[in-house]
Structure formats: structure tokens, C-alpha cells
């Protein structure tokens, strides 16, 4: 089985975006504010949006199951207040849940959170509980910068985040650390802000003792860990200067990287530098980079090909990256699969 741990619902029916635009307009003019129940998307519309997009490409590429969360760049936690984020997260998560019910063999949910800048993260807990306990989701996406590129939140090691971590440990779920759109003109969303956030989150963990407080906490850092694997020597050296343990002991029991790196040399480096147990297959398809690479003739984000061609990996390594590690990092995914005899 091939499990893609990083998929977003980027192809949702247009009605969703229209509803969101009305919600945003409603922040200034409450008379146009829509109700959640104003959004009408039929099961057929959901089916079409998936069957002709993600599922079609999964079948073409040969992956089986995608961990599916709301569109990352549309989370836009910086817009409005907690009530706005909360309603929006509820709607987006419910759509992913419905997709997972329509295609139970191919999609399982991961929750976006109703974060809002300056609002206590513990306000996200009811949404987490609903998504995990009622929707059968297997993880969450945690935004380390709900300001959208202004980085006004304290580091992930700050105690303000601890209520989320306590809930994660209680529910035995990991978090993918994933920012949303950048509203800072300095940062291009998918070309700079995403990668910067990955590197930033990794370094916030490195300088802290977070995983001493939460030995069972698990973070999945997307986009191949941002700059971390490429600069692994730098990070090993910085940890050494700070008298931290070796990274494998200090961080790699708790931090994992996905394979959203869109060329062969990048995947070769990732799988050479990072222990195989810490690498989880992912493509973020259909996402930021949708084209065909003229150098290969295949989609840039068809990362399965790079894993298959990576010279460092044995067949057993590939099975870990494609399936075993995902089952270990997402125990609720493993339980859901086992319940189906998989």
C-alpha cells in the first residue's frame, strides 16, 4: 500500500470559495455575512471534484490512500477573528470528512485548526476533538504563524502551545507543521513562506527542550523539511555549539519529514541524510507545482518516481517510506486500516 501523507483539498467546488468571499465581506459588513448552512455542495459535486483530479492522478501514479486536509493556502488564519476562523475551519473540515466517506479507501482526514492571531491555541481543542472522535481524522495541521507571514506568535516551544500538545498526546495524533498564505509581500507563499516555516519550525524545536516535556509528541515537517536536510551539517553543528544531544537523539524521535521535494537530487539528499524511519511519502498533489518537468517528462510532484529511483534505498526502506512510517507516525491511520483488514 502506498500512503501519501500530504494532500489538500485544492479542488473543492467553486461554491466554497464564493462562500468564503462572502464571509470575508461579512467581517466589514455583517449584513452580507453568510451562515454555514448557506453553503450547498452536493455529494455528486464532491465526487466529481475528486474523481477527476486527485483520485485520477493517484490511480495514474499508483498511490492508494491520501491523508487529506483543507487547502493550506486558504486556511488564511490571519483573516478575521476566532469566530471567523472557527466557522471556516468547521466547514472545510466537514468537506474533507465527506470526501473521506465518499472514497473511504482513498482518503482519510487531517484537520485544519481554527487558529487566529493572538488567540489562545487551546480554543482549537473542540475542533480537534470533533475531527478526531467524530470524523475519524488521524492528525492535524498546526500553523506556527497564524499571522500569515508576520510571525507574531511565540515559537512552537512556548507554553502557549502546550494545550494543543497535551491533546495531541492524549489522542495519539501527530501534527503537520504547515503555514498558510503569506500576506507579507516579502514572502511568496509557496516559494518562500512554506519553506521558511519548515526551517523555522525545525530550528524552534532544535533550540528548545520541547520533546523533553512531550516525549511522545510527533511533528511532521512538510516540503522535505524546508532547508533542514540540505543544511544538516549546519544544524548538527549548531546543536553541538548549544551542547544539545546529537540530532538523532534530540529531535528525530519526534520530528519526521515528508517527501515533497520535486526533483531527484533533492530526494536523493533527503534519503541519504535523514534516517529512513523519519521519511514519509507525500506529494502535496494537486498543489503548488502542477506542471510537467521538461527534464523528465513527468509531473514535478510525482514524487513516487524519485523514491523509486533513489539509490540509497532498499526495497524494505521504500516500504517504510510508502507505508510503514505513516502507520507508525499516525497510529489512528494504522488502526483504521487494520479495522478494514489492511
Amino acid at each position: 500500500m502506498i500512503i501519501d501523507v500530504h494532500g489538500h483539498y485544492t479542488t473543492a467546488p467553486k461554491a466554497l470559495e464564493d462562500w468564503r468571499n462572502k464571509q470575508i465581506a461579512g467581517i466589514k459588513d455583517p449584513s452580507v455575512k453568510p451562515k454555514a448552512s448557506d453553503l450547498k455542495i452536493s455529494d455528486d459535486e464532491l465526487r466529481d471534484s475528486i474523481a477527476n483530479n486527485q483520485l485520477k492522478q493517484m490511480k495514474e501514479r499508483g498511490s492508494d490512500l491520501t491523508l487529506f486536509s483543507p487547502r493550506a493556502s486558504f486556511m488564511a488564519h490571519h483573516i478575521g477573528d476566532f469566530e471567523v476562523s472557527s466557522t471556516w475551519a468547521g466547514i472545510c473540515n466537514e468537506l474533507c470528512w465527506r470526501v473521506s466517506k465518499l472514497f473511504p479507501d482513498n482518503f482519510i482526514g487531517v484537520a485544519m485548526l481554527p487558529q487566529s492571531p493572538g488567540v489562545d491555541p487551546k480554543t482549537c481543542i473542540p475542533e480537534i476533538e470533533k475531527c478526531i472522535n467524530e470524523y475519524g481524522f488521524v492528525g492535524i495541521n498546526l500553523n506556527p504563524d497564524p499571522s500569515g507571514g508576520h510571525w507574531t506568535s511565540p515559537p512552537l516551544s512556548d507554553r502557549q502551545w502546550y494545550p494543543i500538545y497535551e491533546k495531541m498526546v492524549e489522542l495519539d495524533i501527530p501534527a503537520m507543521i504547515h503555514v498558510s498564505t503569506s500576506c507579507n509581500p516579502a514572502f511568496h507563499t509557496t516559494g518562500a513562506h512554506y519553506l521558511n516555516a519548515d526551517t523555522t519550525a525545525f530550528m524552534q524545536c532544535l533550540t528548545s527542550e520541547l520533546f523533553k516535556d512531550f516525549p511522545k509528541l510527533r511533528f511532521l515537517i512538510p516540503h522535505g523539511g524546508g532547508a533542514a536536510p540540505y543544511h544538516w551539517g549546519r544544524f548538527r553543528g549548531l546543536a553541538q555549539e548549544m551542547k544539545k544531544p546529537l540530532l538523532k537523539d534530540h529531535l528525530l524521535k519526534n520530528i519526521f519529514f515528508d517527501t515533497c521535494v520535486y526533483h531527484q537530487p533533492g530526494i536523493d539528499l533527503l534519503t541519504k541524510v535523514i534516517p529512513v524511519d523519519n521519511v514519509l511519502f507525500a506529494s502535496e498533489m494537486i498543489g503548488a507545482v502542477r506542471g510537467i518537468d521538461p527534464e523528465t517528462g513527468f509531473h514535478y510532484d510525482d514524487t513516487k518516481r524519485y523514491i523509486e529511483a533513489a539509490p540509497m534505498l532498499s526495497a524494505a526502506d521504500r516500504r517504510k517510506i510508502f507505508e510503514g512510517n505513516a502507520r507508525r507516525v499516525f497510529p489512528r491511520l494504522d488502526a483504521a486500516l487494520k479495522a478494514k483488514g489492511k
Copy 2:
């Protein structure tokens, strides 16, 4: 000849830091504000600070000449106003100039700029002219985020920066794009902010038409280009979605990467992915990562070893990385060397 294009005066005598602390105290209490002439550092002190540190390691490692600029993390452009930055830049550049006169075969200067958040970058031009024309410096360090981690400046493609670029083209000098210390608790200075800035600057260039306006402008992106080479497929794909030319045509006539990547797999990726003409040898020694890598027994930042061991490189490639490219990207360096018969 082996030229290291990225060295900072991180070992300046303590008197410099003491003076700076008084200057900072003087922002609130003008009665303690020091004059530039209050700083007294003798030639012997300068000699000691270099001969026992950078020069010693250069001799041990086998590099000949370092392009030498003031300590990056101490530029701290966010502190005070333009007058504070201007006085501080003047002092720091003068010290690098004195070092270059004391050790003319081993050091040549690169200028820090008196940037200040919200101040028109053209105010930096007199310092640039002094350093290039009077001190014989061969380049500048340009900070894309003088706010120190709050990223309040417009992107490098914005016309506010154009007066600097016009002067760079006129003087035929490149700029290393290098931030200073982070005062944003989200970003560790050398572990996150530096690498994020490299990626951010690269993406700001990618999304823009800056090099159409300035076909002869040259940027050196340090720390191996941040995350750019590791995610080269992502950047190629993003450029393709934006209908930009191939990166080699769109950016690589103007953007160069240094080799401050502190492990062999990183340098192997860099030299595989980026054309050899765009890679310049550098170590940033004595800098952020000073320790010895227990996996190799050598200093993490002894990057010369990685270049020598990189399997993709021919002897001719290595000569370009160690010397030829630096002479081409820094024409005033080439001229200074030729004037000495080198």
C-alpha cells in the same frame, strides 16, 4: 589561488563591541553617546585578532584570500536610526579596510551598508562610494530585511532598491544578500533567519523582472542559496507556472551561490544541481558553526574539503569554484589581483 568570498570580521577586538554597546545606550541617553574617535584599536590588536584566528585557519586549510566584511549578525540595522547605522557602518568598514592593509595578500574588503528600517536605501550610496573608491573594496553586503526579522521592507525587486542597483552597475560590483541578527523570537539568527532570507531573496528575484531592468546586476546568495538548490525542482516548476523563462536564463546570469553548506551531501547536491559557473567557494569562517564534525573529524565549516571530494566536479570545475568565478563576479577583485601580477 583559493578565494573565500564569504568572511566576516567576527573576531574584532572587544573594544568594538564595548563601543557599540555605548552607542546603543546613547540612543536613549545622549549623554553617554560615544564619538567614533573614542574607539581606539591599534594595528597590533588588529593583527593579533586576525593572525590567531582567520589567517591561522586559512593557512591550515589552504585558502589564500578572503573577501572580508563586518560581522553580519552585528550589523543590526534595526537598532537606532540612519545616523546610528551610518556611524556604525563607517567604523566597521574602516576596521575591515585596516585589516586589508595589514594583510594585503590575504584580505580584501566587502562593505556593510548603513541601512535603517524605513529609510530610503539611496542614503547608503556615500558609504558604498567611499568603500569602493577609497578603501578598494570589491563588493557590498545588502540586507533585504533591515528590520531584523520582521520583514517590513518591500521585496528586492521594488524600485526603492534601484538607486543601490544603479550604483552597483556603475561601479561593477556584486552584492551578497545577507541579513543580520533576528530580533523576532520566531527566528533563530543563524539557524533560521539567514537561510530563510536566502530562500526569500531568491524567490523575490524569481517572481520579478528585476534582471530585465538590470541585466548586469549580480547577487551572491550565501549559505548555499538557503533552500533553493535542494528545492530546485520546486523553483523550476513555480517559474514554469508563472510563464517565466528557464531558471538558467531567468536568474542564473545574475544570481550566484556560495558554498557555505556544512556537510558533504549538501555540497554534492549544490554542485550537481547548480551550474558550476554559478558556485563560488566560501566558508564563512570564523562564523556560525565553529566546531569539529564528529562524523569527519574536521571542522564543519572547512568547506574546501567538500569541494575537493564532490564527485561531480572536474579539476577545471574546482578551479572555477575556488578562483575563476570569484574573479568574474567580483571584477574589482580580479583587477586588484592582476595589478599585483596574480
